[in-house]
Symmetry: C2
Subunit: 307 residues, 2 copies
Amino acid sequence: MNALEIVDVTLRDGIQPIGPWIPTERKIALLHSLAATGLGRMEVGAFVSASAMPQMRDTAAVLEAALAIPALRAQVLVPTARRAAEAVAAGAQELAFVLSVSEAHNQANLRRSVDESVAEYARFVDETPPHVAIRLNLATSFDCPFTGLVSEDAMISLLGRLLPLRPEVEVCLCDTTGRATPDQVDRLIALAIAHYPSADRWAFHGHDTYAMGTANAYAAYNAGVRVIDAASGGLGGCPFAPGATGNVATEDLVWMFERMGVPTGVDLDRLVVVAEEAAALRGSLSGGRVRQAKSAQAQRSAAAAKS
Amino acid sequence: MNALEIVDVTLRDGIQPIGPWIPTERKIALLHSLAATGLGRMEVGAFVSASAMPQMRDTAAVLEAALAIPALRAQVLVPTARRAAEAVAAGAQELAFVLSVSEAHNQANLRRSVDESVAEYARFVDETPPHVAIRLNLATSFDCPFTGLVSEDAMISLLGRLLPLRPEVEVCLCDTTGRATPDQVDRLIALAIAHYPSADRWAFHGHDTYAMGTANAYAAYNAGVRVIDAASGGLGGCPFAPGATGNVATEDLVWMFERMGVPTGVDLDRLVVVAEEAAALRGSLSGGRVRQAKSAQAQRSAAAAKS
């Protein structure tokens, strides 16, 4: 099975840092447009403190709309067992639990120690109904905005504490700052897979802040990852990682992998139109290259057709 | 020897498509700024028809300035034996001869057939003094703007006609359109090296039009290439390859390879400042990500220092 499963995170990591409020109906319209491109999986929001992340405060409504779309797998981010219970009560069937490998980032992002997050994860696993799928997001698996390079041992040993609690999870190694390089991605993923061959599935989440978006996705795929996060229009960032603007653009990944002969199930031309809409959201920081290249071509073709 | 040699092509491929005339003194100032970052090798212009590429019509003056910079290796592009003789008369010690693997692109770019270019190359090799270093630029080695994917056999067989004419050349496989993917770069370079193990050195030239800039450079390095072209500020394009805007940014490559532990000899902070100047040239199409990320950080630090 060589296909790539893209998890489009536009509606969570993509819009989370956007200041101006995006009305719920606008989010749901974007959800429908994204689903219509063939994207089969999305992270559609987060159950978190509305004061810390105000843009996520209508996640329950967006999730409800997502659950009504046939064949769409919708996941939501949760940082605690209590938030997970809220998400499940709202109908969530896929939860992404986040904690950081780096102590400093976990403190800044979740206001607790890594040990406390591990205990929280144990509670979360205990209380989550078995029909709910779990993804484990390891933020700062490669690099921390506060303390720099994260040791490989720290990531491996944290996984050693988490995976026994529930083996059937999808593990996502996240490059929170965008400062991972492809050789590091290749090495760490190979190491993690070698240490924990029985883990269900491996995923990768990267940013394009330093132009490593596609290079790291390519390295992750080569190392065995078949699930990669991305945001349309290259939207996104992390409020606790200064400078970390821009998830890798979904359209850049679709372009690269489809051209490599790796199916993604996404209609690129339709996606480029939606990505332009996402990039035009007021207050957004957008990125990626394929969107601009394809849009320029489309304008040229339209002009040629008129002349 | 794991170091990477970057050939900065800002002053040729980078500014060639810029419409508004850049005064010679402005080009020479840019040349000095680039050299001061530690870049040890540059393509500083082209000896070509001034009507086809008006921005290149002062290459002799820029070359003269480049030759006066100690320890800088300056190459110029030439499409014919006659232009090469002009370049040598102007003092050039490194010539990059260009022809295309694709018949259609060679016709559009050089107004002759590939066979005619091979014959021209033979004349060029014959007439070029032995002290002048030769680089052989194979445009459209991967993909042609007019006919799409280029067959691997075409590239291998063209090399088989060219390499025996002078074995001690540097061969550069060029992704003219930016549509090569990293798996293709990896495969073709490995194939070329396996076929012609005695070739002097292998180089790669790529564009970032479809966000493959760093991914392809990473793949090329892994396949054995130790010389890669790039333009500061991500400037550039090819007038005969519609949509092919933007060489991979020099600063993106420096960031990635230095972080991978591969020395480039370039001072990134200084380069980012120069890249901002290059990107600000009137009429330029700029790209890359590291420039923006580092400039944003510098602005934030300056603001913090003031407050």
